[in-house]
C-alpha cells in the first residue's frame, strides 16, 4: 500500500431518506459506481428530525468509493434530481485504497 497518487480516490457519502434506497441503488449503478455500502441511520437537518422509529421517517447513509469524475457525476445527478425535494446531504472526501482496480465499474 504505497502512497502512489493513483491510489487516492474519492469517498462520496450520502445521507438521505430510506424511501429512496431502491432508486439510489439504481442510479448509482447507472452512473458507474463499482459498488456501495449502506447503513441505517437517523438524524436531523433542514427537514427536521428523522428518527429510526418507523419506516417513513428513517435515513440511510450510503458510501461510494470511486474516481473523482464519477463522484462528481453522481453528486451532480443527485443534486439535480433529489436535493430540492428530499432530505439529503452529500459529502466528498479523499481516501487511499488498496488495489484501485477494485473500484472501477
Amino acid at each position: 500500500m504505497n502512497q502512489d497518487r493513483s491510489h487516492v480516490l474519492k469517498l462520496l457519502t450520502v445521507v438521505t431518506e430510506s424511501a429512496l434506497e431502491a432508486r439510489m441503488v439504481r442510479d448509482l449503478e447507472r452512473l458507474g459506481a463499482a459498488g456501495y455500502t449502506i447503513t441505517n441511520a437517523r438524524g436531523r437537518g433542514h427537514r427536521g428530525v428523522r428518527e429510526a422509529g418507523w419506516e417513513v421517517e428513517r435515513n440511510i447513509r450510503i458510501e461510494v468509493v470511486c474516481d473523482e469524475a464519477t463522484a462528481r457525476r453522481i453528486a451532480a445527478h443527485l443534486q439535480t434530481h433529489y436535493y430540492d425535494n428530499y432530505a439529503m446531504i452529500l459529502l466528498l472526501s479523499d481516501v487511499e485504497v488498496l488495489r484501485p482496480e477494485k473500484f472501477q465499474a
Binding site: 431518506e17 424511501a19 432508486r23 427537514r47 427536521g48 428530525v49 428518527e51 429510526a52 422509529g53 418507523w54 419506516e55 417513513v56 428513517r58 433529489y82 430540492d84 425535494n85 428530499y86
Partner: protein, 314 residues
Amino acid sequence: MDPIILFFLLGLAAGLAKSELKLPSAMYEFVSILLLLSIGLKGGVELARQPFLALLPDILAALALGVFLPLVAFPVLLLLGRFKRADAASIAAHYGSVSVGTYAVAVAWLASRNIEFEAQMPLLLVVLEIPAILVGIVLVRGMGQQTRWGEVAHEVFLGKGIVLLIGGLLIGWLSDPDALASIEPLFFDLFKGILAVFLLEMGLITASRAGSLRHYGVFLIGFGIAMPLFGAGVGGLLGLALGLSPGGTMMLATLAASASYIAVPAAMRISVPEANPTLSLTASLGVTFPFNVLVGIPLYWRLAEFLHALPGGG
C-alpha cells in the same frame, strides 16, 4: 375501557412527556407485518365461503369512493387551506385512501361487542388503498407523460402493505381450512395483543408530531377532524346503499373516515416529491388517527345504527 385504546394513550403520554421509551424499529415492523397478514388471512378465509362475483358491486363502489373523497378534499385544501397544489393533492390522496391501523382497531371494537360484519371488508380495504393515490398524482401532474406510470404502479401494487394484505387474502382463500387452524395461534389468537403493541408505537409516533402540529396550526386540525366526519357520512350512506349490515356499514364508514399513513406517503414521496410530507403526516397521524381511534369509531357505530333505523334502512 378497552385496553388497546389505553396502549395508544400510554404511547401518546410517554411521547409527550419525552420519556426514554422507544420501540426498536424491527419490533414495529414485526408487529405491522403480523397485523397486515392477519387481516388479509381473516378476510381470505371468509371470502372463500362466498361467490366472488357477488362482490363486484361492492368493489366498484369502493373504487368510486376512493376517487370521490380526494376530489372533495382537494379544492377545500387548495382554496380554504391555501396549500400549494402539490400539498393539497397529496393530503387529499391521504384522506381518500385508508389506514390499516384504524381498520384493525375497528375490527377489535366490533369483535369485543360480538357485532358481525361482512367478509369482504379486508378486500375493500385493499381496494380503497389505491385509487386515491392515482387521483392525487393526476391532480398535480395531469394525465400527461410527465408521470412515470410504470414506477407509480410498482410503488402502489408492490408496496409492503398491499403485498402483505393481498398475500394474506390469497393464502386465506386458497388454504385448506383445517390446515389454517395450525397457524391461528399466531395470526388470530395473538391479534389483539399484537395490535396493542402496535398502538403503543402509534401513540409514540403521534406524540412526535405534536411539534409540527403547533407549527402548522388550526386549519390542519380542523380539516383532520372534519374530513373524517364527512368521509364517515359518505361511507355510511354507501354502506346502506350496498345493503351492508350495521357492522359492515360502520366498517365502510370507518374506512372512508380513515387517512393513510403508510402506502400513500410512500407513493407520494416518489411520485409527487415536491409535496411536503410533514403536512400530510401531521394531519393524518397527528390529528385524524387519534381522533378516529378515540372518538370516531364509537361515533361511526352510532351512525350505522342510526342509518339502519331509518325507514327503509335495512
